[in-house]
Symmetry: C2
Subunit: 246 residues, 2 copies
Amino acid sequence: MSGTLYGLGVGPGDPELITLKAHRILKACPVVAYPAPDDGESFARSIVSEYLDPSQTEIPIVIPMRVERFPAARIYDEKADEIAGHLKAGRDVCVLCEGDPFFYGSFMYVFERLSGEFDCQIVPGISSLMASAAALQRPLAARNDVLTICPAPLDDGTLLERFSSGDAIAVIKIGRHFARIRRLIDEAGLMARAGYLERVSLDEQKIMPLARVPDDKAPYFSMILIYKGAEDWIGNLEMPVEGMTG
Amino acid sequence: MSGTLYGLGVGPGDPELITLKAHRILKACPVVAYPAPDDGESFARSIVSEYLDPSQTEIPIVIPMRVERFPAARIYDEKADEIAGHLKAGRDVCVLCEGDPFFYGSFMYVFERLSGEFDCQIVPGISSLMASAAALQRPLAARNDVLTICPAPLDDGTLLERFSSGDAIAVIKIGRHFARIRRLIDEAGLMARAGYLERVSLDEQKIMPLARVPDDKAPYFSMILIYKGAEDWIGNLEMPVEGMTG
């Protein structure tokens, strides 16, 4: 009998922000796969490293940061084959996913290659979206607010249109798009209502008004939250939040 | 020294879908508050009932299902005073929140009354949004999709406008708005791309194409997910999903 493939949400960064279910499955799986950069540590693995056991087989899925689509697809093909080998041999495999597996996660690339052939279970995780609102100490959305989630790589026109509708906006996948996104938010007249968050729930967490971010760049694991109804609280962001650097 | 007020996300329903952090804090708090209906059990409390201890003081926050704004505000005022009494006496208090405390949660009504005076920490929880995508076995949003979250009580015009933009749409807080929402989704030409989910992650979970929901009503804890890019998978929703009744 084949093993089960688990898409395991490991949350935003704090090892305590994984679910009891993810923790149990992680400890029970003989094979653990995770995305990894071509230099440095896997963020997903680092979140749960204290729960791993040396007896577990690890499969890093190394995707170079800047690649064309074709090589990335080939890497996923190869790693899916490797995972399939374990599943066919009856071994359960969990794939670690930062945040939630199905909220803009890379797990879909493994899922789409293997879910047709193998039993697959998704264990949802705490998204950085919810962790960011918790860190800001401000509801993400309430009552009848419309909340819109916008990936930063979208073009200027689409982003400006989305910024103009809805009550609360989260901009994700910022990274190298930071300077452009900040300019667009300014253009939309929303700078005073935008908060910037980086590495939320970790010791090195940074939270500050977007207007006060000193650099013109941001890491991939950063987020901008725009609260259209907000008045002057963004400017006071230092006050209630620990780990603030702005 | 005053106690700390915790807003504790307890997830979508499965007791295993709470975080290690929420589990630890819940067990350590001498006082546990939670929203409750005026008849029947508190859903938030039922999720974590196995982790509670008889020595903990419980504070149900009973909000009648159909009340004017004023009495609800008065109830929150009274319960906030009761919680404040415990905090002033140095006792930590956790307030249980279905899903995530700051994602359309009622915790904000307690938070806005007490966070100015007391130390407050928010522990994010698994939202039913992520749990629904996990149950559907379909990414909620991927790559550069725009995801829009729409509360069902919004008026027809606003909802139709939101349905027409964005790539994926989640309609929440459905309850008595179900028949109207289904008609609007049909009007927008999106019926074949809409999935209906109820009581996700619990044994009584129901998942089916929206078109096949037999009744013209739905519970409050239900959700509709619209995947605009979906082709024919919604119609095949029975196949891969356990607990399906449609």
